[in-house]
C-alpha cells in the first residue's frame, strides 16, 4: 500500500514535472525569462500592449488573476518570501500598510515616476509604484431626477434629507471594495466622531445595502443600461458614465448617468516587485513598463481608471463623459489598516443589525 502510494506520488509529480519542463523547454529555446504578474480580476489590458514589452525586452509576461484586490494581496502575504508570481499589480491604499508590514515588496525607483503627481505617490521608499487611480463616487440616474422634478443631491449631507428617502443603494463594506471606499469617504467627510450619526440617519432614510457592486449597479440602480432597478442613486465610479456610452448598443451620445462631485473617494493603485522573486531585474523592467506611456495610455479604456502619469493623453470618451472631481476624500493607509475591521464591525451593527 505504502509502496503503491509512493510510486503513485512519484509518477504524479513526474507527470506534473514533464508538463512544467515542457513549458520551460519552450522558453529556454528563446532564451527568455517568463515573468508572472499577479493581479486582481478587474485587471485588463489591450491586445498587443504586453506583447510590445516582450518584443522590446525579450521578457514574456504571464497573468495570474486571483480574485479581488484584497484576496490577491492576502494570497501574496500567505506566500511571502516564496511568491507564486514576480510582480503584483493592484494594491491600493486600503491594503498598502498590511502589505508593507508583511515585507511583501522590494524597493524600486521606477523610471517615469517624475511624471506622476506627488499626491499619488503611495510609498516614499518605492516599494509600491503608483500606476493608476480611480474615484469611487455616487452616480445618479439623470432621467429619474429630470422626471421627478427634484434636484440632484450635491453632497453627502443631502442624502439624509427625506426628499431622498429610499433612493440610494450602497454596497456592504465588508464584502465590496467600492462599498468600503464609500464608508471611508463618509469617515473622511464627517470625521471619526460624526460618521456613525450620519449612517444612522441614512438608515432611517431607507438606504439599501447589497453585497457587491454588480448587484448594486446592475439590479438595484435604475440608471444603468442593463439594469431595471428602482433606485436612482448608487455607489459606483467616476468612470461609469463613459462606460455606459462605450457599451451602449445602439450607440448613444450622452451618458444616462451622472456623478455627484462631492462624494468621491480616491483609490490609488500600484504595483510592486514581490520579495523572493528569482527574476528581480526583469521584474524592475516590467514595473517600469507599467508606468511607461504605452501602458499608461491604455489604462483608461481597459480598466476605466485614470493613468498615474499626468502627461498621457486621455481618450475622447473619457474627456467628454468621465467626472474629474475637484475635491476627493482620502484617508491615510495606516489609519485604514488600524481601524478597518473596527469600522466595518461598527458599520455592520449600525446599518444591518
Amino acid at each position: 500500500m505504502t509502496t503503491i502510494t509512493r510510486s503513485l506520488l512519484t509518477s504524479l509529480v513526474l507527470c506534473a514535472a514533464l508538463t512544467a519542463c515542457g513549458d520551460d523547454a519552450d522558453t529556454a529555446a528563446d532564451d527568455a525569462v517568463t515573468l508572472r504578474l499577479l493581479t486582481h480580476d478587474s485587471f485588463a489590458v489591450s491586445d498587443g500592449v504586453l506583447e510590445a514589452f516582450t518584443t522590446e525586452t525579450g521578457i514574456e509576461v504571464e497573468l495570474l488573476q486571483g480574485g479581488d484586490a484584497g484576496t490577491v494581496v492576502n494570497q501574496a502575504i500567505l506566500t511571502q518570501g516564496n511568491p507564486q508570481a514576480d510582480v503584483l499589480f493592484g494594491i491600493d491604499s486600503t491594503f498598502l500598510t498590511r502589505a508593507l508590514d508583511a515585507d511583501l515588496f522590494v524597493p524600486h525607483q521606477a523610471a517615469g515616476l517624475d511624471a506622476v503627481d506627488d499626491d499619488l505617490r503611495l510609498d516614499e521608499e518605492g516599494r509600491v509604484t503608483p500606476i493608476d487611480y480611480g474615484d469611487v463616487c455616487l452616480n445618479y440616474d439623470k432621467a429619474f431626477f429630470a422626471g421627478a422634478g427634484i434636484p440632484v443631491p450635491t453632497s453627502l449631507e443631502d442624502l439624509v434629507d427625506p426628499m431622498y428617502a429610499d433612493l440610494l443603494v450602497v454596497q456592504n463594506p465588508a464584502t465590496s471594495s467600492p462599498g468600503l471606499a464609500f464608508l471611508l469617504a463618509s469617515i473622511g467627510a464627517f470625521g471619526e466622531d460624526g460618521w456613525e450619526a450620519w449612517w444612522s440617519d441614512l438608515r432611517a432614510n431607507g438606504v439599501q445595502v447589497v453585497d457587491g457592486w454588480e448587484e448594486a449597479y446592475n439590479t438595484a440602480f435604475s440608471g444603468g443600461g442593463a439594469s431595471e432597478g428602482t433606485r436612482p442613486l448608487v455607489v459606483s465610479y467616476a468612470s461609469s458614465p463613459p462606460a455606459e456610452v462605450l457599451y451602449a448598443d445602439p450607440p448613444i451620445d450622452e451618458s444616462p448617468i451622472g456623478v455627484i462631485d462631492a462624494s468621491c473617494y480616491r483609490q490609488v493603485e500600484g504595483a510592486g516587485i514581490l520579495a523572493g522573486t528569482p527574476h528581480e531585474e526583469e521584474a524592475r523592467e516590467l514595473v517600469d513598463f507599467l508606468l511607461s506611456e504605452r501602458f499608461q495610455a491604455d489604462v483608461p479604456l481597459s480598466m476605466f481608471v485614470f493613468p498615474a502619469r499626468s502627461d498621457v493623453e486621455l481618450p475622447e470618451v473619457f474627456v467628454e463623459h468621465a467626472a474629474r472631481p475637484s475635491e476627493v476624500f482620502e484617508l491615510p493607509s495606516e489609519d485604514i489598516e488600524a481601524n478597518r475591521e473596527d469600522w466595518i464591525d461598527r458599520w455592520t451593527d449600525l446599518v444591518l443589525r
Partner: protein
C-alpha cells in the same frame, strides 16, 4: 485476503491523488492557522466557538439547511412520483432537463434568481436578503437529487403491492403511506441527507441572495480567509464545518445501508399512462410546478441574454461573444472560454473517471467498516470550502515542483470535485454484478478474461459512460475551486461569466447571460447523452 490486497491496490491511485490535491493542501492551511509562533496553539478554538456572532452564523447555517431540505422534499417528491410511475410524452427529455439546475454554477443561478426574485422582479416579488430566496434557490438546485435518488428506487418498486392494498379497500393515500412510503423511506432519508449537505455548505447562493446580513459558515470561512486573512478563525471554522459534514456522512451511511437491503428487490420499471381525471390532474399540476420552479429561472436567463440597451430584444450580446472587447476585462473572447472549459472538462473527466473507477472497483470488492469509511472520506471534498482548498494549494504545492500557477491545476481541482460523483455513480453498479455469474461462466469453461468480457464489460462500459457524462457536466460548471487558480489566459466559462457580471455596461451583462445559456445547453446535452446510456441498472438509487 487476496481480495483485500486487490482492493488496496486499486485504492492506491485515488487515495494518492486526493492526498496530494485535497488532504495535503487543506491540512497545510488549517495547520498554518492553528500554529502559533511557538508550536500548536489551540486557545483560539474556544474563543471562536464562544463568539456569539459566529454562533449565530452556525445556527443560521444549520436551520436554513434543514428548512431547505424540507422544502426540497415537499416539491421534489411529487415530481419523483410522476417521473417514476407515469408515462407521458416528453418524459425522457424532462428527466434529463431537471438535472440541469444541479450542475449549473452558482453564479449563474444566483444571477437568474436575482433577475427573477430581486428588486426588479418581473413578478413583483423581492426576496433578496430574505431567507425565502435562499430556500427556493436551494430547492431549485437540489430538486434533481431527490427526484433521481427517490425516483430511481420508486420506478423499480412492484406496483402490484400497492394495487393489492387498494384492492383490499385501502384509499390511495393509505396505500401509499402503509405500503410504498416505508420502502422509500431509506431513499428519502438519503436524498435528504445529501440535500442537507449541499445546503449546509452552500456558498454562491447565500452570497448572492443572502444580502448582507445572512451568512453561512462557508461564506464566513471565505470572508475570514480571502478578505481578512484571519487564518486562526478560518481554520477553526473549517474544522467545525468538516466535523459537521463528517457527522452528516455517518448518518447518511447508516441510511444508505438500510436502503441497500430494499434495493435488492428491484424489478423492471412499470410506468403507465395516467388513468382517470385525478391522475391526469396530478400529472398536469406537477408539470406546472416543475415549470414554475425549474423553468422560470432558466427562461429568465434566456430572455436576459437577448435584451438590448433600449429595452427591446436583439442579438447584440450573442454577437459580442466572438470577441474580447476592450474593457470587458477578458483576455480571450468568450467563445474561447467555451473551448477552454471543454478542454479542461475532458481532462478532468478522464482523471476523475479513471481514479473514481478504481475507487469504485475497490469499494465494490471490499466490504465492511473500512469500505464504508473510505466511501465517506471520498465525499469530504464536497464538504470543504473551495477557498480553503485554493489557499491550501498556494502554500502546499510549491515543492518539489511549483504547481501553483500551472494550468494543469485547473482540471485537477475539477477532478477533485467530480470524483465523489463518479464513485457514487459507479460503486452500486459494480457491486450489482453477481459473482455467481462468474462462477457459472467458469463452470461452462470460459477463461476469466472471456468471462470478464462477456459479463462485466458491457455493464462497466455503460457505468463508465454515465459517470463520465456527469463528471464532464460537473467540471464544466465548477466555479469555486477554479476561480482561485484560473489563469487569465485560459479562463473557464463560469469564471468568464463572473468577470462579465462584475463589469459595467449592458453589453457585458448581456454576454454573461448569453454565456450562461451556452453553459446550460452544454450541460443539458451532456446529461441527455448520459440518459440515453443509462440502463435500468446504472445509476438506480444513485444521486445523479
Amino acid at each position: 485476503m487476496i481480495r483485500r490486497r486487490w482492493a488496496a491496490a486499486l485504492l492506491g491511485p485515488p487515495v494518492a491523488f486526493l492526498t496530494v490535491f485535497f488532504a495535503w493542501p487543506v491540512a497545510n492551511i488549517v495547520g498554518e492557522g492553528l500554529r502559533g509562533d511557538s508550536g500548536w496553539d489551540l486557545s483560539g478554538v474556544g474563543a471562536v466557538l464562544g463568539d456569539p456572532a459566529l454562533r449565530q452564523v452556525a445556527w443560521f447555517t444549520l436551520w436554513q439547511a434543514a428548512a431547505s431540505t424540507v422544502l426540497t422534499l415537499l416539491v421534489a417528491l411529487p415530481a419523483a412520483h410522476v417521473l417514476a410511475r407515469l408515462e407521458f410524452p416528453g418524459r425522457r427529455l424532462l428527466q434529463a432537463l431537471i438535472v440541469v439546475p444541479f450542475v449549473l454554477p452558482t453564479v449563474v443561478v444566483g444571477a437568474a434568481f436575482v433577475a427573477l426574485l430581486g428588486p426588479s422582479s418581473p413578478v413583483g416579488i423581492d426576496l433578496q436578503g430574505r431567507v425565502g430566496g435562499i430556500l427556493l434557490a436551494h430547492a431549485f438546485f437540489n430538486h434533481a437529487v431527490v427526484v433521481r435518488t427517490v425516483g430511481g428506487l420508486w420506478e423499480g418498486l412492484d406496483p402490484r403491492t400497492e394495487e393489492a392494498a387498494r384492492m383490499l379497500g385501502a384509499s390511495r393515500w393509505q396505500a401509499f403511506r402503509t405500503v410504498t412510503l416505508p420502502t422509500l423511506r431509506p431513499a428519502i432519508a438519503s436524498a435528504a441527507a445529501i440535500t442537507f449537505l449541499f445546503s449546509f455548505t452552500s456558498f454562491g447562493v447565500v452570497r448572492i441572495l443572502g444580502g448582507s446580513s445572512r451568512t453561512t459558515l462557508e461564506v464566513e470561512i471565505y470572508r475570514q480567509t480571502a478578505d481578512l486573512l484571519d487564518l486562526p478563525v478560518a481554520s477553526v471554522l473549517a474544522l467545525l464545518q468538516l466535523t459537521a459534514v463528517g457527522a452528516m456522512l455517518v448518518v447518511q451511511d447508516r441510511l444508505e445501508r438500510r436502503r441497500g437491503r430494499t434495493a435488492a428487490a428491484l424489478r423492471p420499471s412499470a410506468r403507465r399512462a395516467p388513468r382517470g381525471p385525478g391522475e391526469r390532474a396530478w400529472l398536469v399540476g406537477n408539470l406546472v410546478a416543475l415549470a414554475v420552479l425549474l423553468g422560470t429561472p432558466l427562461a429568465t436567463l434566456l430572455e436576459r441574454s437577448f435584451r438590448t440597451t433600449d429595452g427591446g430584444h436583439g442579438l447584440a450580446a450573442w454577437r459580442a461573444l466572438g470577441e474580447a472587447s476592450r474593457g470587458s476585462g477578458l483576455f480571450v473572447a468568450p467563445v474561447d472560454a467555451v473551448a477552454n472549459s471543454l478542454r479542461f472538462a475532458v481532462v478532468a473527466t478522464v482523471v476523475a473517471v479513471t481514479l473514481g473507477g478504481l475507487a469504485a472497483a475497490a469499494l465494490a470488492r471490499a466490504g465492511g467498516r473500512a469500505a464504508r469509511l473510505l466511501d465517506a472520506i471520498l465525499l469530504l471534498p464536497l464538504g470543504t470550502s473551495a477557498v480553503t482548498v485554493g489557499f491550501g494549494f498556494l502554500i502546499a504545492l510549491d515543492e518539489p515542483i511549483d504547481l501553483r500557477a500551472s494550468p494543469v491545476l485547473v482540471p485537477l481541482a475539477q477532478a477533485v470535485v467530480a470524483l465523489p460523483f463518479v464513485v457514487r455513480t459507479m460503486t452500486p453498479v459494480l457491486r450489482s454484478i453477481d459473482p455467481r455469474l462468474h462462477e457459472a461462466a467458469a463452470v461452462l469453461g470460459a477463461s476469466p478474461g472471456r468471462a470478464w468480457r462477456a459479463i462485466d464489460l458491457p455493464i462497466v462500459r455503460r457505468a463508465v459512460l454515465v459517470a463520465a457524462g456527469f463528471a464532464f457536466a460537473i467540471s464544466l460548471g465548477e466555479f469555486g475551486a477554479t476561480t482561485v487558480i484560473a489563469r487569465a489566459d485560459a479562463p473557464t466559462v463560469p469564471v468568464t461569466i463572473a468577470r462579465l457580471l462584475g463589469r459595467p455596461g449592458p453589453l457585458n451583462t448581456g454576454q454573461a447571460f448569453a454565456l450562461s445559456v451556452v453553459l446550460m445547453v452544454l450541460t443539458a446535452s451532456a446529461v441527455l447523452v448520459v440518459d440515453r446510456w443509462r440502463s435500468r441498472t446504472v445509476g438506480r438509487g444513485g444521486w445523479v
